[in-house]
Subunit: 261 residues, 2 copies
């Protein structure tokens, strides 16, 4: 690998064959040397889970000038851990996850394996971005976001990101109008409202299938969901400090509780 | 069930047989009617993952006055979703997860199935608390934290919690001195530094086993880890808005990027 080119580590949660992943590889190879590590299976909704009781196997799949591809039996978070510790010759300059088939805006970040990988990289001091497209179509068109991905990535490669902060970038799906621009915004409080369908298996035993509808009760102009609904890309600076800092002071009455039996 | 008593939903990530779970059931039954739903398997490090491609089965295990117990083949997050939507006769007044064998302070919250369940409840507008003990011993002593758990829970049942905020409560393990009190604090930036051990299986194929050491580079007096190390319980108000709000303004130069090809 060329030590003068940035080293870019790529992963995703849609599995190794996903079109969005292959698009991201093509784009990133124009910017640097690429190490790709993806998962044998689709890892959507695996969030930040990692493998602590099973054996993790990694296979080298492909190697050529400026590009190395691995595959593993773990989760996206395992991919990041393994890659930067065991597989990369040097510390990656950037970790990119995606391009996810389906948006990871609003509170869906909490479930996302794509964003799990980004947060994991960020927790380990690596610069990291997640890219997602607001379309679940496995054959979705990604060409309208090429320039935006390249320019955002170039800016982050040259300027870095603040400590403890990563980027969660979502793009609207292609429509007749060109995408309007990028909005830096906050995570909307909108959420999936799940519906469990009662079903019965071949033995007559009841089981549940998870379905859901998206409840949009916080689509204000400063949110990622508003941006996507108005044909903008959303860019949310994202952190792994989940403290509700504004509540520390109001809650200090808990310190008055008598804990002696 | 008695409609005048609070309805308390309990889950955990250590599986149905864990001592900490049974302790929590005993304590909560003194405060209200209890619905318990736990998982067939240990779900540590499953974070916020939920089941979207497999069938979810639920079994009624036990039912008596004021107590109903279910078990399911999913994750802690699935437990919460299933319970409040399909199993509880009415909306739970409180969701409690734990008592976890092992601490969920600092950035370990990100991996925790126990906290995943708490966040899931909070995202759905339910009042929720996670309780964890700083000891991985399956036979750990929980008796020194009875009063603290009861008093914190009673306060939350009577006063509620702010919208979008849940509690992550960790206790030190029993030592010679009595626990000193409760500290309302922030999540420390300390983290697990993983080490993958290279091993070989019976076929000579290499695999990795995850081990780790805890890197304490942020043990200031306002953190949860400081509290635990000084024999206090830590109480961190926790949220699912991961936006780094302070970075929105400084990052608005991203809006100047030209996204046209």
């Amino acid at each position: 690998m060329d030590k003068n080119r940035p080293l870019i580590l790529i992963t995703n949660d849609d599995g190794y064959a996903a079109k969005g992943l292959r698009k991201l590889v093509t784009l990133m190879r124009t910017l640097g040397d690429v190490v790709l590590i993806s998962t044998d299976e689709v890892m959507s909704a695996k969030s930040h889970s990692c493998t602590i009781r099973d054996r993790l196997y990694v296979r080298l799949v492909q190697q050529e000038e400026g590009f190395t591809e691995y595959r593993c039996n773990g989760t996206p978070v395992d991919c990041v851990k393994l890659a930067y510790q065991k597989l990369c010759e040097r510390q990656p300059d950037l970790v990119v996850s995606g391009i996810n088939h389906g948006m990871n805006a609003a509170t869906t970040v909490v479930y996302s394996g794509t964003i799990g990988a980004v947060i994991e990289a960020c927790m380990n001091g690596l610069t990291a971005i997640g890219y997602s497209l607001f379309s679940l179509d496995p054959d979705a068109d990604f060409d309208h976001i090429d320039t935006a991905i390249l320019e955002i990535t170039k800016k982050v490669l040259s300027e870095g990101l603040p400590k403890g902060v990563c980027l969660n970038v979502n793009f609207p799906k292609r429509c007749e109008e060109p995408m309007r621009g990028i909005k830096v915004c906050r995570q909307a409080a909108c959420r999936w409202v799940e519906l469990f369908k009662d079903k019965f298996d071949e033995n007559g035993e009841q089981f549940y299938d998870l379905e859901g509808t998206f409840e949009s009760d916080d689509v204000l102009p400063d949110t990622d969901l508003w941006a996507l609904q108005h044909n903008y890309a959303s860019l949310v600076p994202t952190c792994f400090d989940w403290t509700a800092h504004a509540q520390i002071e109001p809650m200090n009455s808990f310190e008055q509780i008598n804990i002696r039996p």
